[in-house]
């Protein structure tokens, strides 16, 4: 995308009917580190890559609990994401207080989308620079939604957002048809495998990813490092065995991309506020 004379204001249309500021906001989402969501009929899994500013700092929180039955994973400007998560928590708790009943996730997502839309139609505002994967349970089952800075929202069986999410999306596209009937364990495994796709060569360790689950009879919670590592071990072990049989040459080839995958040149283009 190149600069043009219609992109200064969010309230300026381009002659081709585009709002460039909104599209630039969606670019910010693409720069953030990956977040992945998938659902079965009864469970939703949200996973993300833990990116830290430097080796000295801790990684940013990208998955938030909104209520026992709703969780959200964000990509893009995490500050905007935090503010929107606070809004979602507020909506959920107010509904719960008035009706003693969990807020249906479909309705929360519409409130969120309407809030985002306001920022695309006020000259003194800017769009939120964050994409949200909202996973939740309601009367009609498990749902996964993606909320855009544009104010649009879509429902998905599985989705990935953020940098290098295309790799994860390709993986999910191959497998999504089976997710509906997946067991909870298979769903978690698929989520972690999708995360691995975005790392592109870097060895997958449990410290590199955060995974959360919610489902029928299971309130939203994060999986601890051990549990994640155990799942990683089930497929990394298989991969190791195969590599061992293939011989040393492959092992050398595998080592080289791993060095580049770490804190590579690509990340230097990412602004500090985007994670």
């Amino acid at each position: 995308m190149f600069r043009n004379q219609y992109d200064t204001d969010v309230t300026t249309w381009s002659p081709t009917g585009r709002l460039f500021q909104v599209e630039y906001a969606m670019e910010a989402v693409k720069q953030g580190s990956a977040a992945i969501g998938l659902r079965s009929r009864s469970h939703v899994v949200l996973a993300c890559v833990n990116k830290a500013q430097s080796e000295l700092s801790s990684h940013q929180k990208k998955i938030f609990k909104v209520d026992d039955h709703i969780g959200v994973a964000i990509a893009g400007l995490t500050a905007d994401g935090r503010v929107l998560s606070r809004y979602m928590r507020s909506e959920a708790i107010n509904h719960s207080f008035t009706y003693e009943s969990p807020l249906p996730v479909g309705r929360l997502v519409v409130h969120l989308a309407d809030k985002a839309q306001v920022c695309t139609q006020r000259s003194w505002k800017r769009p939120y620079g964050v994409g949200l994967l909202v996973g939740g349970l309601d009367e009609s089952g498990a749902h996964l939604y993606y909320n855009c800075p544009s104010g649009n929202y879509f429902e998905y069986q599985a989705f990935a957002i953020g940098s290098r999410s295309q790799a994860a999306k390709t993986y999910l596209e191959r497998r999504f048809e089976s997710f509906g009937d997946s067991s909870r364990e298979d769903l978690i495994k698929d989520a972690i495998l999708a995360v691995r796709e975005t790392l592109q060569g870097e060895t997958l360790k449990s410290s590199l990813c955060t995974v959360s689950v919610l489902g029928v009879g299971e309130p939203f919670h994060f999986l601890d490092q051990e549990t994640i590592q155990k799942v990683i071990d089930t497929f990394e072990k298989v991969a190791e065995d195969e590599e061992g049989e293939a011989g040393e040459g492959d092992a050398e080839a595998a080592a080289a991309p791993a060095e580049q995958g770490g804190g590579g040149a690509g990340d230097q283009d990412v602004a500090p506020m985007e994670m």
């Binding site: 207080f97 009706y99 003693e100 009943s101 479909g106 309705r107 309601d138």
Partner: protein, 245 residues
Amino acid sequence: MTFTIPIDNGDALKNAEADSQRTLYPYVTGTSIVAIKYKDGVLMASDMGGSYGSTLRYKNIERVKAIGKHSLLGASGEISDFQEILRYLDELVLNDNMWDDGNSLGPKEVHNYLTRVMYNRRNKFNPLWNTLVLGGVKNGEIYLGMVSMIGVSFEDNHVATGFGNHLARPILRDEWRADLSFEDGVKLLEKCMRVLLYRDRSAINKLQIAKITEEGVTVSQPYSLKTFWEFQAFHNPTAGAQGSW
């Protein structure tokens, strides 16, 4: 055409004229509601009277109404406040339907909403002068609860308002069972309503019984109970104490 211009006189506690804005006493009132859970859902009985003080002025007031697909609301107390509550709930149900997303308000949600409304009004010293009974069935779960004008709220297997608490509930405590059939439930309610008819002076002999099950709501046509006034004790009531009544 007349219309009133709303006046904001401020806090009812500090400004004497603001009293004209808040509820002080009820004018047209309904008497007891009696409701029970039974095998398939909830049964609710009420008479059709609206008293104006001690006068039995209105004889065709429906005090039990369907709310949405899953609930039944019965009210005793000020009739105009009941109508106001029905308007609030109408808006609530309308907005719920407009979502058109497969989710719907169940009896528990309506009950809690009403509890919030009643309690918040009480806190402003401007109560809705009603005791409400909320019953319903959703996804097989049978729900029955009550909210008073001061916001006291609870659920139970059988509830009653006003005089019903004193006259009907003892009967229900003895004779209610979880597996009551529809016919037995109606008989039980009629037994309670008959006692109320004899002993509550604001009761009239014209009642409706409403039923709610998973399938929906049915409100019966108004009918009367058979009463018996030939008890020997009533023939010469003051035999034991001449001069009294």
